[in-house]
């Protein structure tokens, strides 16, 4: 009998579905040169390759946080069934368990050994003083925090640097080695080629970003065992833990929304462009109407209505986790419903052009069914638009989550997200001395995620948009098509 019970939340299903779709796409793309070519171009862009390791790290954290289960305790005597705890945990929770259980009473600054505000402390001799109490976990191994702390942090950092140096060398050797094998060079030859700038992939920048990432995370984890590297929040939870947990929420909103949106946008867009006439009129009317409602208001209206439903049907949602998860799923769905119109409009226009092409006319003349024409001849030729829009939308959605949570129509307050972090930290800005660390942590991680997503999206757009001609040094090449794609993404 398993010591745990796997739990599949709604958003976990979306995540798994998404992973399945990506794997299917990768398998297909590997077999077709014309599908591989643009991705090779992405791999050649410096910005994209600097961003890729960072994004991969975020994706890995988000994935680990999507594998949920309930811990079980072995059956007691006389019972046969396992008993499962009420908490729904994820694999990430286990990996960073120390962060989850190292809970303080209230605020404490990063690396603090004492609480942020005075409390009444009872001395061993029975007298009472108002002072800053020692933290239960933050720096609790230090005998004399005042003198020992700096040296202790330094020692731990040094060890972390050592570990990341070893990891870094291993990763670098692996990457350069793989590259050398692919180009049929010796290891030294590959190094020489890199030094001379004779490489077709930006390996150097990619390695630098990977090494920085490894060092940062090793340092954070080395210190987070005994300190609160980003401090603690109002109820004493470690902010680093909250930040790690927020990553999944951001990723789910950024990706699952697309999963919801694509079927609408692709089907309706192609149908409108292909059949024209009445079908086109109806679909155009639908998306013009939807897109004329300001997004945030439509989302607010829908989320309010969902709240009414959840409050009047409390029996469906048996735990806080499920309730929060349902709300996140619903948020993805409603964000998807409000954001398919831009891509739909784009696909309609492209299909209108494609349906006049000779190969489509030929297929029609041969009596190929409309469904097959759409699937075999139109869809593959508009797919680059789908990819570009998907990637460009991601960062906007991550940013939108924070705004929606502030407005009160975002994720459930019980769910960790950058929005809820900013929201609760904002209320503490008036404190003296100021509580800045939750904001700083949310700021840093959000900036890292959104910036790398933006860089990667630019690389993907440049690679997939056929209207962009290759940019070479020397005379500037006209880059038409950048704006329409961007505009479409913005409109959406």
């Amino acid at each position: 009998m398993l010591p745990f019970k796997p739990i599949l939340l709604w958003t976990d299903m979306l995540v798994l579905l998404l992973i399945a779709a990506v794997i299917a796409f990768v398998v297909r793309a590997r077999q077709h040169e014309h599908l591989r070519a643009p991705w090779r171009k992405v791999a050649r862009s410096t910005g994209g390759m600097i961003a890729a390791p960072v994004l991969l790290a975020f994706l890995a954290i988000g994935f680990l946080d999507s594998l949920h289960f309930q811990r079980g305790t072995p059956p007691e005597k006389g019972q046969t069934d396992m008993r499962y705890g009420p908490d729904v945990l994820s694999v990430l929770d286990i990996l960073v368990e120390h962060l989850r259980i190292h809970q303080e009473r209230s605020f404490s600054a990063p690396f603090a050994t004492h609480a942020h505000s005075r409390e009444t402390i009872t001395r061993p001799d029975g007298s009472q003083v108002r002072d800053f109490p020692r933290l239960r976990h933050g720096g609790s191994h230090l005998v004399d925090p005042e003198t020992d702390r700096a040296a202790d942090i330094g020692r731990r950092l040094l060890r972390a640097v050592g570990i990341s140096a070893v990891l870094g060398v291993l990763v670098s050797v692996a990457v350069v080695g793989t590259y050398a094998r692919r180009r049929g060079l010796s290891f030294d030859g590959a190094l020489g080629a890199m030094r001379d700038g004779d490489v077709d992939l930006p390996i150097g920048p990619m390695l630098v970003s990977t090494l920085l990432l490894i060092t940062t995370f090793t340092m954070l984890f080395a210190l987070s065992g005994v300190y609160h590297v980003f401090g603690t929040d109002k109820v004493g939870q470690d902010v680093f833990y909250l930040t790690l947990k927020s990553i999944r929420t951001a990723l789910v909103i950024g990706t699952a929304t697309t999963l919801v949106m694509l079927p609408f946008a692709v089907t309706l867009g192609m149908l409108a462009g292909y059949f024209r006439g009445r079908v086109d009129d109806a679909i155009q009317y639908l998306y013009t109407t939807l897109s004329s409602i300001p997004d945030v208001l439509l989302i607010a209206a829908a989320v309010l209505m969902m709240q009414v439903y959840m409050d009047t049907h409390p029996e469906i949602f048996d735990s806080v986790t499920r309730r929060a998860d349902f709300r996140l799923t619903f948020l993805c769905i409603i964000l998807g419903v409000t954001s398919w119109t831009g891509l739909c409009r784009l696909l309609r226009g492209e299909t209108l052009k494609l349906r006049e092409q000779e190969y489509v006319l030929a297929a029609q003349a041969f009596g190929v069914s409309h469904f097959r024409i759409l699937l075999r001849h139109i869809l593959p030729n508009v797919f680059h638009l789908v990819i570009i829009t998907t990637v460009l939308k991601f960062s906007g959605l991550v940013l939108a989550e924070a705004v929606l949570s502030y407005v009160g129509v975002g994720v459930d307050p019980a769910m960790n997200s950058f929005g809820t972090m900013i929201n609760s930290a904002r209320l503490e800005m008036a404190r003296e001395p100021i509580v800045w660390w939750s904001l700083a942590a949310a700021f840093a991680f959000m900036l890292l995620l959104v910036l790398s997503a933006n860089l990667f999206a630019d690389a993907v757009r440049d690679a997939f948009d056929p209207r962009i001609r290759p940019v070479r040094r020397g005379p500037r090449v006209k880059r038409s098509g950048v704006a329409p794609a961007r505009r479409a993404a913005e409109a959406a």
């Binding site: 409602i293 300001p294 607010a300 009414v308 933006n454 038409s480 505009r487």
Partner: protein, 326 residues
Amino acid sequence: MLRYIIRRILYAIPILIGVNLITFFLFFIVNTPDDMARMQLGVKRVTPEAIERWKAERGYDRPVAWNAAEQGMAKLTNTIFFDHSVRLFAFDFGAAESDGRDIGHEISTRMWPSLAIALPVFVVGLLAYVSFALLLVFFRATALDTAGVVMCVIAMSISGMFYIIGGQYVVSKLWNLVPISGFGDGLSAWRFLVLPVVVGLAHGLGESGRWYRTIFLEEINRDYVRTARAKGLRESRVLFRHVLRNGLIPILTGVVVAIPSLFIGSLVTESFFGIPGLGSYTIEAINSQDFAVVRSMVFLGSLLYIIGLILTDISYTLADPRIRFD
């Protein structure tokens, strides 16, 4: 031109009807008025009488779309659908559910503070971003250009809320230049408006600056630019006269597309800065679950967006005399 505008306005009517139907569906079909009453009055201890009273006070106790008990036109008009959806077309928004105040009156007083922020951000922003983009284009393919683009990409990766929080902290708290939040009557309000406007401008710089730069770079290799240079015009004149005017069309499209998101921005900005505008009105309504106000704002927001689209088309003809709508 006039015929075209009239036609566009006629097109807008079915769209507004659609918006109306969507909101009606969301607010009255997905959940019944009973659900809303229970929500407002507290789910646990609520008597059927209290629900009936709540519904009667707000006119939700009538049939949804067809009142068979009435005579003549009243069969249609004495219904929830007519009173709460159709009346919106006459700008008769009814009373707020939470405090019973007239929504139309609230909107007409609260739109001025909203405009006082959105308008300067819009106008100054357009000028500033276009100038910034032209400056980058002037120095294209130099280190300055690269630095500008990198700065733009970083700036657009920062959530708008951090601009507000950072601005309030630095300008109001550390430097003590303007109040953190609040609003005043008449001209004395300027002290409260400076910071929101500056923050709004800073927030838009990254995204718009980079986008406009791309648009201008598209124009810079066209034949007419080469001709202008060949006849000996200075680069600044080429940029500010020829390139600017031709780049204006895509910019105009984008500027109007951004109008609904201006609305988002003002939602957050107004509530952070305590400005009594439409944005903070909406946030208050969402927090107090005042469905009547949210419904009215959805309708008003869509109406403004559609007007914006019509205005874009008109602005095309002003920016580019080649475009005719006949």
